[in-house]
Structure formats: C-alpha cells, structure tokens
Symmetry: C2
Subunit: 486 residues, 2 copies
C-alpha cells in the first residue's frame, strides 16, 4: 500500500546521518564585568549548538549572572539593533537569547543557531566573571570529503563554487532546509535546487529520497496538488499552503533524481504522484489550454513586488511536461504519448495566445499584460520560443527597465538555466559573476536568500535583519559551473 504511512516509513529509512564538528572560535576566554561584551568569530558559517564554561574570577558570584547572546550570520547582523526590527515576519527569528546563570557551570544552549559570529554581552554580573572554552558543535548531513575541486579555471567562479558548496552543506541537515537560520522547513522549490546541486557535490542520495518521500506523504488539496512545504520536527506535518509551480517542480525533482540515480524503485513509488500533479494542472486549463486562477492556491515564481505570475506558471507547466514526457519515454511508460501530445498542444497554444506581436514578448491578459523577465524566461525554458528569437527576447527584456526584473537567487537560477539552454554560456558566466560574485565580493561565507546589487537593504519582508544569509535556493551556481564546465 503506497499510502501516507508507507511514504513516511520510506522517508524514515532514508534518514541521513548528521556529521558533527566542534568548532573553536578565535578567542578562547573572556574576563568581564557588567556591560562588557565580546564578539567570537567561528571563521566559517556554522549550524548547531553553542556551549561555554562560566566561572567566577576570584570572589564567588553571589547572584545569577545575566548574559545576552546574539548569533549573526555576518557582522552586519551582529551590529543590528534587533529592538528596531520592523519586518513582516516574526521577530522571534532574530537570533538572540537572554540567559540567567545561577552558578559556575558548563552552559550548552538548547536551541540550534546559524551563525559565523557570536556576540556575548554581560548584562549583569555583580562580580567579575570569566567565560571560557567556547565551543560550537556544528552539524550537517553533507560529507565534505565527497566534494571534488571545482575544476573551473576562473578565480571568481572557483570562489563562487566554494561558497555555494558551503551554502548547500549548511542547509543539509535531517532534510533539505531552505534556511538554517529562518524558516527551517522543506519547500519543494528549494528541494529541487538543493538536490540538483547535491548531485554535483556531496551526492547524498538518502536525503534527496527522504525529501521526495516526505512530500509524497503530504496531504494534497482538493485539486490534487502536493503541499508546498512540510515539517518533520518533531513530528511530520503537511503544510497548509499550496503553490502551483512548486507542485509541478516536484515532478521535475523526481525526473532530476531518476536521471542522476537511475533508481527505479523510488521512481515507481513516486510516478503516480507525478502524473497526478500534471493531470491536476491540466484540469485548470481553459479551452485554449491556458492556465486559469484557482481559489486557495497561488504561484510563487519569485519574491518580486507586484509580479504577475500566470504566464510564468504556464511556462513551468510546459517545462515540467517536457521533462516528464522524456522520463516516461526513457522508462517505456505507456503514458508517454499522452503527455507528449499535451506538451505539444499547450506549447502551441502559448505561441498563439500569449505572444504579443506588438510588444514582441509573452504577456497574458490574466497578468494584466504585465511585461516581466519571468514570463520570457519560463517560455524559453518551456521551449515555446528558441534560437535567435529567444536570445533577442531575453536580452531585450533584461535591459528593459519597464519590465519586472528577477529579485531572488531562486529566479536568477532559472535565468541562468535559460541562458545556458540558449547556448549563451559567456552571458551566463557574466550573470553568475554579477549576482553571486557580488555577494562573494561583499564577503559572503554562504549565499543569501535575497541579493539585489543596487539595493543592499533589500528584503522580501520589509526588514533586512530577518533575511536569511544562508539560503538553499542560492546554491546553484556550483551546479552550473560544474555541469557546464564554466
């Protein structure tokens, strides 16, 4: 029976082993009185648990000592005043704890934090104290010994490759987390990109299978779509949100996995779910085979203020159909013809109904005819347009300040994918260097959730403090560099 319990038991079988490393910061001990503070540098981004020893200096400390301990993924976060936070997400994600310590002891903090820097402030100590033997027990399910050198001859690309590997490593815990600082759940969109990069780095197939099965166990909505996220700590919980493009990209993630692993058993477990995602999407098409809006679900595409997404979503659908039809053909599945036929008809419909000859671009009345890079990218990735026409469309749209431009590294991934599909390898390299290289130049140890070169304070949540500076969807330049030998 391939029911929820079956999928959860398969997810459990593939529980990845966590590898622990004890990191000692640069500073080994700290003698302090009230008001003193210190900043420890782990020398690298790390995800795990902080511990230290606390003792008196000479006279016994005869009242509890109060410390505030702040964890920052970078120094800007350490210097931020969290009390000024104005963002839309819960301020409880800001990594700061106030602790009271009654007597000399080893203190191990219960919560897991993601950081490179740790600032300790002595809020109150009525005698001099010493803090020492600082230690950070970092965890990951990535085996870095499996990582081969980048191979790129370009210095900056090698640096980018390195930061990308770190980013993925940090997000690989007992599942693919989207961000080890914030959110810490499994999203389909992130899973697909993390798995893709994993195949070129740590090649941990257990964690990929685990994540694919965790979604397979999810509760589909009434339209038949998988939830866009799930939780696994401390018990399994299927998310309440349904994102159309993510449901489709689950199918792509299964295709990626099979192509890489040729693991027929897992594919057989998941193939019916893949078919049902495409069939459910098909049911949302109008008579012209153009996707329509549905109640209670939405598409993500990109964190981009005011972005309309129906054209992009249509592109994701075709992109998925093509990958899935190829898979069915490769394994000799009888449904190949069915999906191939739909693919060709929908692709043709896009050319007919979504391409605007005046604007020389893809727009959609459901998008209020909004012009966006996103729509063009997904039409290219869906094979609706190609060759020189596509090259021109892409370059013009990227230059057009009236067109919505990509915001997140997640969307930038698909821009690069489209460039490489069109053979624009040098353009792709420049794009990677501009985007991810920009973060490297700014000292990033890991790639960020959001990076807009002209706007260092950009945040999808109205306050930069809450941004995740180690975010799974930003790890893919490594995949491009290695797959395309850039």
């Amino acid at each position: 029976m391939k029911d929820k319990n079956y999928f959860l038991s398969k997810a459990q079988e593939n529980y990845p082993e966590l590898i622990y490393t004890d990191i000692t910061p640069d500073i080994t001990d700290f003698t302090a009185v009230s008001g003193d503070s210190i900043i420890l540098d782990l020398g690298q981004h790390a995800v795990g648990h902080f511990s230290f020893s606390f003792d008196r200096v000479n006279v016994f400390v005869d009242a509890p000592v109060r410390l505030s301990i702040k964890f920052g993924e970078d120094m800007r976060e350490i210097n931020d005043d969290f009390s000024q936070y104005k963002g839309v997400l819960s301020e409880t994600w800001l990594q700061e704890e106030i602790i009271n310590i009654d007597f000399p002891q080893r203190v191990t903090m219960n919560r897991r934090f993601a950081c490179r820097f740790i600032k300790i402030t002595v809020e109150k100590a009525n005698r001099p104290i010493k803090l020492f033997d600082f230690s950070f027990r970092a965890s990951t399910s990535a085996d870095i010994s499996a990582l081969s050198p980048s191979g790129s001859k370009d210095d900056l690309l090698r640096k980018i490759d390195n930061v990308a590997a770190n980013t993925l490593k940090e997000c690989m815990q007992t599942f693919f987390e989207d961000g080890p600082k914030r959110d810490r759940r499994l999203w389909i969109g992130d899973l697909r990109l993390e798995a893709l990069t994993d195949y070129y780095t740590f090649n941990n197939l257990e964690i990929v299978r685990r994540c694919l099965y965790l979604f397979a166990a999810g509760e589909c909505n009434k339209l038949g779509f998988l939830p866009s996220f799930v939780y696994e700590t401390p018990y399994y919980h299927s998310g309440e949100t349904y994102i159309e493009d993510y449901a489709l990209l689950y199918v792509v993630a299964v295709c990626d996995y099979y192509e890489h692993s040729k693991d027929t058993d897992t594919l057989n477990d998941l193939i019916d779910i893949c078919k049902s995602q495409l069939d459910s999407f098909y049911a949302t098409l109008d008579k012209n085979l153009i996707a329509t809006r549905q109640d209670g679900w939405f598409a993500f595409i990109d964190w981009c203020p005011g972005l309309e997404i129906m054209t992009s979503l249509q592109g994701v659908y075709i992109y998925t159909l093509e990958r899935f039809a190829d898979l069915l053909k490769a394994i000799g599945d009888d449904d190949f013809e069915k999906y191939k036929s739909i693919l060709l008809k929908v692709r043709s419909a896009c050319r007919k109904y979504l391409y605007d000859e005046n604007k020389k671009a893809f727009v959609n009345s459901l998008d209020n005819n909004q012009l966006s890079v996103h729509s063009q990218i997904w039409m290219i990735l869906g094979g609706v347009i190609d060759g020189e026409k596509a090259v021109n469309l892409l370059s013009e749209c990227l230059e057009d300040r009236t067109a919505k431009q990509p915001c997140t590294p997640y969307m930038h991934h698909y821009v690069v994918e489209a460039m490489l599909k069109l053979g624009l390898n040098e353009t792709a390299v420049q794009y990677i260097k501009n985007l991810w290289g920009g973060m490297v130049v700014l000292g990033a140890d890991t790639f960020w959730e959001a990076y807009v070169p002209d706007d260092p304070d950009f945040s999808p949540y109205n306050d930069r403090m809450i941004n995740s500076l180690c975010h799974a969807w930003s790890c893919t330049p490594l995949y491009f560099i290695r797959k395309y030998r850039l």
Copy 2:
C-alpha cells in the same frame, strides 16, 4: 589529619538525599495567542523545576514562539512589574525568564525556582498554540513523614507551626539554604536556627552534620574566625565575609547538635574549631574585657538601619561562652574551668562597664551609647541580667520608641528566646502571634525573610520585590511551640 579535605569528605559522607514530588497545578492546559497570559497555582510553595508541553493548535507554528515565565512566591510578586525594580541586590534574582521555543516539544526549564504561582505570558506566537501537562518537580531533603502534629491547643499557633515546618522543608535541599529563591547559600546564623527547628520536625541529622563540616572546611581569616557563609554548588567555596556573631554562633550550633544527638565523633572533630573561635574572640577584648572593633569583619545582629552592634556582640560572646562551658563540663573536658572563668569575668565586666544607671539599660560608648532592644536581649541571653530587673528592662525597651527595635524574624527569634528564658511564656506567645501570626493572616505559605507589621513594603534591600518569602531564619516559632509546649 583533620584538615580541609577531611572535613569536606565528612561533609560529602553526609550528603542528604533529595526527595522529589511532582506537583500538578490547578490548570491543566492553556490555548493562547500573542498577548495571552495565565497564572498557575501549585497550591503550595515549592522549590524545583518547571516543565510543560508545547504544541500547535491546528496550523503549524511557523516561527519560534516567545514566552515569558514568571515565578512568584506569592501573588503580589506575580503582579509586580520587575522592570521597576530599584533595590540594591542584583535584579537577576527576580524570577523571570524569556524563552524561545522552535517547535513542538516538552520544555523543562534548566533553572531551579522557588514559587507557588507561575505566570506564563505569550509574548509572540504567530499561530494559536497550546501549553499543557504543566508539572513542577519539587525537591527537599526533609522527610515530611517524620513530622508529628504540633500538639498546641491554640489554632493560630498550630497554623504558625505548620507554616514554619513548610518554611524549613523548602530551605532544606542539599544543605540548609537561607532562602531557596534568593541567596541560596549556607550562612552560620541561618544554619543554627534551621538545625534547632529540624530537631523538632524532620530530625535530619545528616544535613546538620554536612553543614557543620562545610564550615569546618572553611578558610578562617587572619584572626582565626570561620567564614560567615560557604557555597557548595557546583564546588566548595569558602565565603569571603567574616561576621563575628556568626563565628560565635557556630559554636552554639555545635553545642545544640551535641545536646540533641550525643554524637561524640562529630563533636570530637569540631571541638578544636569551637575553642579557637572563642579564643580568637577573647583576643579582641580590651583590658576591661569589652570587645573592640576589628578591621575587615563586622557583626550582623539584625538588618536594622543604623543599628550599632558592639553590645549585642558582647552578649553573643557570653551566651556562647556559657553554652560551650556547659558542654565541656558535660563531656569532662579539661578546658571547662578556663572558659567558665572567662565567662564569669566577662559577664561581670558587662555589668560594670556597659550598664548605664541613668538610662537603666545597657549601652556602650563604642555604640555611641545607642539604645537598642538588641543590646538588652543579648545581655539577657548572656545572663548579665536576670529576674525582675531583666523583665522590666525588656518590656520598657520594647515600648520605647527611641530605642532601636528588632527588624528581622532572625532577631525576633532571640527576643522570644529571651522572653522564654525569663519565664514570660504568655508574652512570648503574644509576640509570636503578632509577628509570625501576622504573616499567616496575610496568607503566607512560608515565613518571610522580612516582616514589619506596620510596613508591608519593608525591605532590607530598598525594594520589596527582591525579598525572600521563604526564609530559613523565620522558621523557629515551631521550635518554641514544641519545645516549650506553647
């Protein structure tokens, strides 16, 4: 070799076993959103660790939840605004923690708290949450099954007896704590009173021996006096403060212990230390046999603003001399005559140099001739004055508003002891009912560190919030009620 290591090993041999009880508060579960709060009532004062379960209500809580958890020994403390605290002791004693919880789990708070009430406020939860299975794991080394009924025929005295037994029980942990909320260290003055009450309640001789040995292991100052307090958690630490009356009362505590237990082995271990305390004090007397002030140490006597203490201290010395001489006589120690002879000479000197015929009271130029109840009490307890003359002196001084009056239950103990010594049993009962009965009427579950009937906000530390409401030195009415069958 009776050195520090020997005494510490004896202290360790007498480590009392802690008895644990899981207390379930009146309310079993709490469903809440941001801003909600709840107050749990344990139904009794308890010392220990709080735990509870945390989970979502329906939708998964997708950001850490922040709770503030406040522990109050009474409801007044629960309603206090700790941010307004202005006292002289560290605000870190105020029992409140801010905790962040990442996902559904059982939360067991690391720190030990002393409380009857627990207020939980949901500072931030971006989804409804539930808190449930509240539990408080209380500890004590007092075996309540060993406690016999009070025996008093008086209702209020029976209530006082009961609250006193609770107070002692709560302070009995791995040593005699002065207060389980605040200070949490072993003081000689408190030890003496706790041990005395223990003999009439739980009769735990292990903990008494442990405490006596912990002081025996202490580092004496250059004058030869024991430290006034020691710490034992997490390692032994001899206090840096030397209090003369406490050093003397250590000798009295040993006398009390031997009288009650007839434990010759322990007495033999400690008798030299007792002699050295008295000999060291003798060295501070002037040619008239009146004690002089010494550098680097002081006397406690009472928390009473502006109190002068030299006459009282002299009284403590004579009181100790008498008890110790009696002990030496009982065990046939050759030094009996020596101490007896000093006792008589010093007592006589007090009559000659400290009694003011005009004021008809004991005053001392070293005290700026300050008139205090304390001085008279200690001269009575030292046997310097007795009979009708003492009765009149005491009653006049207690009525005299120009005389410094007792402030703490610690000093009130010695007032009652003096009354009973003079045979004023009915006066003593009224005194007990006024003082300790006053706290019972105000709803005390345990007796307070400080209680001034006319001043409900009295604090020795300039802010009532920091007062300990379960304080060892307040447990002695039970001793009087039972010993004197009041």
